[in-house]
């Protein structure tokens, strides 16, 4: 579903992502991990088509840069790390923004757009909140609304940039369980970036470890989350313990 070959991205003259190869099969969940500044978010944005890059990114077979923007927006939806919360905007209107690629430039939302929004709101248990103002919701509620907006695009691919960084551990699990459920129900392909290694490993089927813009390890969580790899690239001492859903990474004081 996602095929990335030789992806390089320069921002302001600096090479941030350096010849990255990445594959995500249809319906798979792949999480990119790596220390701060490794290029995780930049790689994700390039895959989403919102950054210029060198190399090739194919989504469902099509080169992302050749897809017309509106067509691209129907295939791939992104939840950014900290999305702008427009002041005063209601949940319903925010989720309806996800239907933008379906609404003709001079037209208005159709009944099917509203039906799609209703369906997503119900699926994410947000129906009762649709009349609330987004800027009055809690962090966990907002994250669900951001996800709802992305799902309203009816995408086949979901890109999640640090989807849980603003949440407490309870809400982290809630949101990721939700994503996993939607992935199964809707056959979504998920590519995410995450900081919390244990949680990342529990949900991803495969992981890619980036450091200095390059892929330094890729494979199952058990293959990537090893004490040696993490020590080398995060410069941290950790103990990795076997858990029910993947390795548990515990930092240990030096």
């Amino acid at each position: 579903m996602i095929v990335v070959r030789d992806l390089s991205v320069r921002l302001d003259g600096h090479l941030i992502v350096d010849r990255v190869d990445l594959d995500v099969a249809e319906g798979e969940w792949v999480t990119i991990i790596g220390p701060n500044g490794a290029g995780k978010s930049t790689a994700l944005r390039a895959v989403g088509g919102v950054l210029p890059f060198h190399g090739s990114v194919r989504l469902g077979g099509d080169p992302v840069e050749r897809l017309p923007r509106r067509e691209r927006a129907k295939i791939v939806a992104t939840v950014m790390q900290s999305p702008v919360v427009p002041p005063g905007m209601h949940v319903l209107d925010y989720v309806l923004l996800g239907r933008t690629p379906f609404i003709p430039p001079l037209g208005r939302e159709s009944a099917s757009d509203l039906a799609a929004v209703d369906e997503v709101l119900a699926a994410l248990d947000l129906a009762d909140m649709s009349g609330r103002r987004l800027d009055t919701l809690s962090g966990g509620e907002r994250q669900r609304v951001f996800l709802a907006r992305a799902l309203a695009q009816g995408p086949r691919i979901l890109l999640l940039d640090e989807p849980t960084s603003a949440l407490d551990i309870g809400h982290q699990q809630e949101v990721l369980d939700l994503v996993d459920r939607l992935r199964t129900e809707r056959g979504l392909t998920v590519l995410a970036t995450m900081h919390d290694l244990t949680i990342a490993g529990e949900y991803a089927e495969r992981m890619v470890l980036l450091a200095g813009g390059r892929v330094v390890a890729a494979g199952t969580p058990a293959e990537v989350l090893t004490e040696e790899l993490l020590a080398a690239h995060y410069r941290v001492r950790v103990r990795v313990i076997d858990g029910d859903h993947g390795p548990l990474v515990v930092p240990v004081r030096r």
């Binding site: 919102v50 923007r69 939806a77 999305p83 427009p86 319903l92 939302e109 509203l114 009762d128 649709s130």
Partner: protein, 359 residues
């Protein structure tokens, strides 16, 4: 029947122009039109004025009870002035709302990118030139409106070029900063010119403070094409402005060309402002106060703010003009003074009485 959600609460509807707001806006314009024509040195019965306005529609013929002379006052003197006020008010309020959306800045006003300073310099140059060597330049083919229009557009173009200077990408922030620099420079040039031609000061100031005084059908016909074209462009982009509130990158991921939308809106709003300034001088406050009042009362969606700004901006300026020419007897107060005088306290009132403060 109102659709009811699972919990029994009224199901919310998507933001957009609500019919009752549209009706209120049209009513406001109608009231401003009739009142603006009926009241003045010679007051006419508003009912008769309304009938006489209906008579302008082809095929309608009713007796208004007005004399020939009174009908002439309505159609030849007051109607063009009121219509000009409606057009200028609509353009300024719409341009202000568009700028606020494009720059995501609640303080953006139609004069943000140097329009006021450019127009001011253009007008000062023409008036000062005329005053100093009256025989040679008095009949220059360039009049005050054209000088204002040209000056405004040159200033915006300059801001545009400077906004990307140094090879950096043009962003809303660099454009606003370039606008500040261009305005400061052109204002200094204007002050310099005025200092050397003190005799022109009075005429320049009367223009700077805004007026609809010399309005005839000529002025109306001059701005009408700009109002129509820029109005259509800005209004057709109202949904895009709503999408732009989530930021450029997200707007791009939703299928928009944020830069393209933004530039088109800036060009249209600047053109509308330049056209308005060229016939009315510098009228402040309309472009900030009208959109913000509507934002507070009718919600933050540009799908309602933009069309309502057209209607209420028009009505506001036409009514302000009525006050400007009636409250002080024969002496007319500059309309820019009245807009600020009325607008500022009214805005404070709205700000204090609404809980939902959205920039």
């Amino acid at each position: 029947m109102t659709p009811v959600g699972r919990t029994g609460t009224v199901r919310p509807r998507p933001a957009g122009l609500r019919p009752w707001w549209l009706v209120a806006g049209v009513l406001a314009v109608a009231v401003a039109l009739v009142a603006g024509i009926a009241f003045g040195p010679v007051s006419l019965p508003p009912g008769s004025v309304a009938v006489e306005l209906l008579n302008l529609i082809p095929g309608v013929r009713m007796d208004s009870g007005l004399t020939e002379r009174e009908i002439a006052i309505v159609t030849e003197l007051r109607l063009p002035r009121v219509v000009l006020g409606l057009l200028v008010g609509a353009m300024l309020a719409l341009a202000g709302a568009a700028y606020q959306g494009v720059f995501r800045n609640p303080l953006a006003d139609p004069h943000l990118l140097g329009v006021a300073a450019g127009a001011g310099l253009g007008v000062t140059a023409v008036i000062a030139g005329r005053a100093s060597t009256s025989d040679v330049t008095a009949n220059l083919p360039i009049g005050v409106p054209l000088a204002a229009f040209a000056g405004a557009l040159i200033a915006v173009a300059l801001t545009w070029v400077l906004g990307s200077a140094g090879g950096r990408a043009r962003t809303p922030a660099t454009l606003i900063l370039a606008g500040v620099a261009v305005s400061a420079f052109l204002s200094a040039a204007q002050t310099f010119l005025l200092q050397r031609h003190v005799d022109a000061m009075r005429e320049v100031y009367s223009w700077l403070l805004g007026r609809l005084g010399t309005a005839g059908w000529h002025d109306v016909l001059m701005v009408l094409p700009y109002a129509a074209v820029t109005g259509a462009i800005v209004l057709s982009r109202r949904r895009e402005l709503d999408v732009l509130t989530v930021g450029d990158e997200e707007a791009a991921s939703l299928g928009l060309h944020p830069q393209r939308s933004r530039y088109l809106l800036i060009v249209a709003a600047s053109l509308a402002t330049a056209a308005a300034v060229s016939v009315s001088g510098l009228i402040g406050f309309v472009g900030i106060i009208v959109p913000h009042t509507l934002r507070l009362l009718a919600g933050p969606s540009y799908r309602s703010i933009l069309p309502l700004s057209v209607l209420f901006g028009a009505a506001f300026l036409a009514l302000t003009d009525l006050l400007a020419r009636t409250v002080a007897g024969q002496a007319e107060i500059p309309i820019g003074v009245v807009t600020a005088f009325l607008g500022a306290p009214f805005f404070v009132l709205v700000l204090r009485s609404t809980k939902a403060v959205a920039p």
